[in-house]
Amino acid sequence: MRTVNRIAAVLLALVLVAAGLLVVVETVSALAGHPWPIPASWRARLASTAVSDRGVLITSIVVGLVGLIALVAQLVPRRPQRLRAAVEGGTWWVTRRSIERRSADAAAQGAGVHHSKVVVRGRPEQWRVRISGEAPPHRFDAAEESVRDELSHLGAPENLTVSRSLRRLGRVA
């Protein structure tokens, strides 16, 4: 999301800079008596378009909606990139990406979970972990145990919450 934000910000900045330059050039050239670069026909149309014009209204509504969507998208809390690990031993952090990848591997290797996936949410000091994937039902507990064991070695706090949404592995004919 950070990359998307940066690209969007750069594009918006470029558009604003271009528009600003256009206004400056047009204003100076108009004051000099030779309006440029906006064509005379465009200028006449812009000057005669009322705020109540249908095109202006529709454009305003669309721009307003896009702005609202962008605002809501930015206000939605995101998962932190790094999580505070065992607090008693001092302040240190571990990246969420590492935790998720290593825990998913632990579920796969330790309990034979297929397509294992681990998602970590919650506040930096209070982890909420969800395990998903496919496994035989009798391996569900082993999967959770493997993930918990891995998390403890990755510095997870003791009060973490682990939930699982494991699907029953289809019987192979």
Binding site: A85, A86, W92, W93, T95, R97, R102, L154
Partner: protein, 106 residues
């Protein structure tokens, strides 16, 4: 006066000498680095209220590695009169670290 790049290099050397630290890590997104005239040192950020060290671990449990790395960095900083806290971030874990742990338990 000790140069900024020398401090960063000393911190990096001390941290990478810690058993369990496979190397420094640039982080994700904005690169974690100390910039100076003529170059940069990736994995150590000296600016700000706390010094940040991003590393790749190749040994578990991570807590021991992170604490040792923090102590090593703090020692270097204390030697030059810098009392800022050190934030250690384990940015990546070498899979072999977990495999070794598993085999040592078995």
């Amino acid at each position: 006066m000790v140069r900024r790049e020398d401090i960063a290099r000393s911190v990096a050397d001390a941290v990478t000498a810690v058993p369990g630290v496979a190397g420094l890590h640039p982080g994700f997104g904005v690169e974690v680095a100390t910039h100076f005239s003529g170059g940069k040192l990736v994995g150590v950020r000296l600016g700000g209220e706390a010094v940040e060290v991003y590393l790749t671990a190749d040994r578990a449990p991570l807590q021991a590695v992170a604490e040792a790395a923090a102590e090593a960095a703090t020692r270097v900083l204390s030697a030059v009169g810098d009392s800022r806290p050190v934030n250690v971030v384990v940015a990546d874990v070498v899979p072999a670290a977990m495999d070794r742990r598993s085999s040592s338990r078995g």
